[in-house]
């Protein structure tokens, strides 16, 4: 009696296990090429990951419609929320590899770093829609799509320095830093020796703040006391908005200039900081939604409205991710031309596509060039400032104005241990 019941229970458990395991193993019967992504749409970076996910999805749809992946190739895009947690990203990426993905989009520096080795083993190139430095070193299967944080800091440093000199000041300007104490926030670090070399005095006491701070008064006061003329941040819009609002409240904006690196997507800064954003600087490595005089930007903005409704406002992150999708399309097309559409796989996309991209301009970002070691693609950016005035897309009474219509270039700056791979990279003068 007991044994029979035990057998029944064991059989029930086995049935349950089979039901549980099968959906994991079946995968998609894909005739088309599968591209995948793991945006953290419910994590702490959800504010930026949501439009990024939408931009990638729509960009792939657009490329499919226009045949940008090459003749005979259609791309299916699947994504899963990573929650900005490596423990969720890893199984998701493994599932996508088993499902036969040829290219994977990552949406944060942490995720890109975590799956870097797995991607190399699985022969799946990844495109990082973020701007972190660490995923690109040592050069592997992770490709950036635009200028990384530290090189945008170099661009901002050059611009501010020239303005400082134009105003007739002869003393070296002092730069203070308020940032996150994580790989994202500290991505600026590689540019500090360069800034010092060109004449900046970087205040060594870097001020760190919480991921979503509600008050940064003490950090601002410390930098003010240290004599900062400029304060730069490497964060996403919401925390930087707190910096700007606190600076306004403390009356610091009249004698200190504030700037943020490329993660401070302006549409969200306007929403977060409101009037406190006026006069602040951002250095950006993609086109803005306001530049509808550029045909590609106009087309993307209209396409977004077509897909997502007339009220949809394609902000910075959307355009950034759309550019990543176009970059994937370009690489796939090049791979298809090199090996044939039926033989395109992850390895071909990397070796015959991504690594062979030379001076390619999507129209949404500065031209990209990769090679065997180069994984960042670009080192150009432009400097913008927030001004009063109606925004052509978002309305309201604040918008952004470009201060440098041409792309400004940074020298190639790489971490010291990888200098041997980049002979053209900037090196500090001997003895410094």
């Amino acid at each position: 009696m007991m044994t029979r019941r035990l057998t029944k229970i064991v059989l029930l458990i086995l049935m349950w296990l089979l039901i549980t395991i099968f959906p994991f193993t079946e995968g998609w019967a894909a005739r088309e090429i599968l591209f995948t992504g793991t945006p953290g749409v419910t994590g702490p970076l959800a504010d930026i990951s949501v439009p990024q996910q939408q931009g990638t999805e729509d960009g792939i749809k657009y490329a499919n419609e226009k045949g940008l992946f090459g003749p005979g190739i259609k791309v299916i895009f699947k994504w899963q929320d990573s929650q900005y947690k490596v423990s969720v990203t890893v199984p998701a990426f493994t599932r996508f590899v088993e499902a036969g993905t040829f290219l994977h989009f990552t949406y944060s520096t942490g995720d890109s770093d975590a799956i870097k080795h797995m991607a190399a083993k699985a022969n799946v190139p990844t495109i990082d829609t973020g701007y972190g430095t660490s995923p690109h070193f040592p050069p592997g299967w992770c490709f950036g799509h635009a200028t990384t944080y530290h090189e945008t800091l170099a661009v901002l440093g050059q611009y501010w320095l020239s303005e400082w000199k134009k105003s007739g000041k002869t003393t070296p300007p002092k730069m203070g830093i308020i940032t996150w104490d994580n790989p994202f926030g500290r991505s600026y670090e590689a540019a500090v020796p360069y800034l010092t070399a060109i004449g900046w005095e970087v205040i060594p006491q870097v001020q760190y703040c919480a991921t979503f701070p509600i008050d940064v008064t003490s950090q601002l006061a410390a930098l003010n006391k240290a004599g900062a003329d400029f304060i730069v941040s490497c964060m996403v819009p919401m925390p930087w908005s707190t910096v700007l609002k606190d600076a306004e409240r403390l009356g610091l904006k009249s004698n200190i200039k504030f700037g943020c690196l490329t993660g401070a997507f302006p549409d969200q800064v306007i929403r977060g900081a409101g009037k406190a954003s006026i006069g602040a600087y951002v250095v950006l490595s993609e086109r803005l939604w306001t530049e509808t005089n550029i045909p590609v930007v106009k087309e993307v903005v209209e396409y977004a409205k077509k897909l997502r409704g007339a009220d949809y406002k394609a902000g910075y992150c959307y355009i950034q991710a759309f550019h990543c999708a176009l970059m994937a399309a370009r690489a796939t097309k090049m791979a298809a031309e090199a090996v044939g559409a039926d033989k395109v796989d992850g390895k071909a996309i990397k070796e015959h596509g991504l690594e062979k991209i030379k001076n390619w301009d999507s129209g949404l970002a500065p031209p990209l060039t990769f090679d065997k070691n180069e994984r960042e693609g670009s080192r150009q950016a432009r400097v913008w400032t927030f001004v009063e005035g109606a925004d052509p897309i978002f309305g309201g009474d604040i918008t952004v104005k470009c201060l440098t219509p041409e792309w400004l270039s940074s020298p190639r700056i790489v971490p010291a241990e990888y200098l041997h791979l980049f002979p053209e990279a900037w090196k500090p003068a001997k003895g410094k």
Partner: protein, 352 residues
Amino acid sequence: MDIRLPCGVFNTRYDKDTAIFRTKERGCLIIFIIAFFICCPFIMSNTFLSILDLIFITIICVMGINTVTGYCGQLNIGQSAFMAVGAFFSGWLAKDFSLSFWLILPIATLAGGMVGGLFGLPSLRVKGLYLALFTLAAQFIIMWSFRHIPCFGGAYGLHLKEVSLGSWDLSGPRGFYPILLLSVIIAIYCSQNISRTKVGRAFVAIRDNDLAAETLGINIRAYKALAFFISGCFAGFAGCLWAYFIQFVGVEQFTLLDSVWYLGMAIVGGLGSTLGVIFGVFFMKILEQITVSWICPILVERFPNVAGETFAGISLLVYGLVIIMFLIFDPRGLVHWWNILKVSYRLHPFSY
């Protein structure tokens, strides 16, 4: 008489009462379960194996919480930082000293234990919420140290090489699985043994009433520190395995939220029970996968007009709700349900 034992089974000796295999059926069931997990790499996909790998690592880490909080009653909300100690030490030893994984594993375990023990020292003076705040502080202090001590990689983190045994590549979800399975079996055995020894009984006595325990002659200071040391050892062990599984260690991988989830898993499973930890981790991790990998994508496909992130948010609501439900309706956790199931099975057809 222990009603959880089948009818007719009597413990006539003390060692029988504390035996792991208390009945033949139980022994068979454990062997069957181990055999099943040994077979997993042959029947399961890499995806499912990677989920199992992460479950095993989490079980080892939560075993630590079970020891210090479940057995000894000392609140710990810094477990992921202690796990980070194991992970970063592994990365550092591999990078700067080129030590092999097999040597690093015990060193990282001990490092986790020592740091755990160090941050457990305040438990000699404070308890309850105050102690919880100490462990919270440990989370920040430890992670700050790893960010700023250059040998631990700073902003760039640390990369680790694959584990190998001769020519056998032990990396990736499939390759690393045997190591993780063996590790989790060892961890479960150790955790189960703690509860069966003098040390375990001392922990329980301290948890139930530390004043009474002291009057019984238990050195509560030494045992509290020991509980934190053991908890840290589990976390360090799990951290080392994590580092080699992912092959990259970064500060963002060990957050305060993770520490809270680990405690949540122990609560859902049933604090103070090794089996509860296993149930809790399996339940929460499978729930996570079901909502994130199955339900959300299906909803996104079925309702394309609703934004995907709306559905993705469901997963977080579900986890939170599950913990709330358990806290309100059954704080004894899943292991209590298991015990009820066992008892009702054994008493069948009687309902009492």
